[in-house]
């Protein structure tokens, strides 16, 4: 099933990116580890790509199925873990690289301050 690509740019006050996310048959989950269920940004990415949004706090999924992860990290834990694992990371808060894992946070793998309007279809 062909998935579509999206481009994600940093929002106001944000950092990093732009990221291009194009799910595949193997990497087909838009993994969401914000509090409070599936975040609107994760929903939007899933809508535009045709992939499936997934709540990481409700159930588990293998890392290799994750196309990208949506976090709402205030700047220490989640902001570093996913870039460290080379998973494209979208932070809905306008965080900059910080915390002990900040060496892994690069513009090619991380973008922050993202709102639904910062996500556009590219196919």
């Amino acid at each position: 099933m062909p998935y579509k690509g999206v481009k994600i740019v940093k929002g106001s006050g944000g950092w990093g990116g732009p990221l291009t996310i194009r799910p595949t048959d193997e990497k087909k989950l838009i993994y969401c580890v914000t509090g409070g269920g599936i975040h609107p940004v994760a929903k939007r990415i899933a809508e535009l790509t045709g992939a499936e949004a997934f709540d990481g706090f409700k159930s588990s999924a293998p890392e290799k199925q994750i196309a990208c992860v949506v976090i709402d990290c205030g700047g220490t834990a989640r902001i570093g873990v996913y870039p460290m694992k080379k998973i494209p990371t979208i932070d809905v808060l306008p965080s900059s690289p910080s915390g002990p894992l900040m060496m892994f946070i690069k513009e090619e793998i991380f973008v922050s301050g993202v709102k639904p309007e910062n996500i556009t279809a590219i196919d």
Binding site: C73, G74, G75, A77, V81
Partner: protein
């Protein structure tokens, strides 16, 4: 069969914390897991906590615990008892209470800051952070540190009070529920203690 000497029931024996409104306890949990990266993060000056719902990649970097209910809000002046160690809260980030309530997630940094550097942090006094053992309590409360919280006996975080009933309501998650019920059954059947 009489209870062994080490299990002598007394009126002051308290196996569980008193209800929050009596003891000032805002959040009560027990440590279940220490992630493999916790030591490295400790050396960088932080302890990261997550509740049981955390996925595996977040458990790697965290102290995982059983907590799931925040009663009130954590504020400067509160204490955090982690096993036998007590930290004093100096500052609370804007997201710390929300993260703690929803995800059991908090980052503790011992920098004595009254304004935290990052919104998910709780700052405590400048001191050496210690990695707790599995099974110890994690308790946020609004009283200043009391003698009981400094005890090395991590199963009695609340000072025993003569007015407390010997057998209190035990949450389903209390690790001492079995022991408490056993004691209750012994008290009913054996008056020769």
């Amino acid at each position: 069969m009489t209870p062994g000497p080490f299990l002598e029931p007394t009126a002051s024996l308290s196996l569980t914390p008193a209800p929050a409104h009596e003891s000032g306890i805002k959040y009560h949990a027990r440590v279940t897991e220490i992630g493999p990266m916790v030591q490295e993060l400790l050396e960088a000056g932080i302890l990261i906590f997550f509740g049981a719902s955390a996925p595996p990649e977040l458990r790697e970097i965290a102290i995982v615990h059983t907590g799931d209910t925040l009663d009130g809000t954590i504020a400067p002046g509160d204490t955090i008892a982690l096993g036998g160690t007590v930290y004093h809260v100096t500052g609370v980030g804007d997201l710390a209470n929300k993260n703690l309530a929803e995800l059991g997630h908090v980052v503790i940094k011992a920098n004595g800051a009254t304004v935290t550097e990052l919104p998910g942090e709780i700052s405590v006094q400048s001191t050496t952070l210690l990695i707790p053992g599995v099974g110890v309590p994690l308790i946020f409360r609004s009283l200043p540190s009391s003698p009981a919280t400094n005890q090395s006996a991590a199963n009695q975080p609340v000072p025993a009070s003569p007015t407390q009933p010997a057998l209190q309501t035990v949450s389903r998650r209390s690790p001492w529920a079995f022991l408490k019920n056993w004691l209750r059954s012994r008290q009913k059947t054996d008056r020769s203690v």
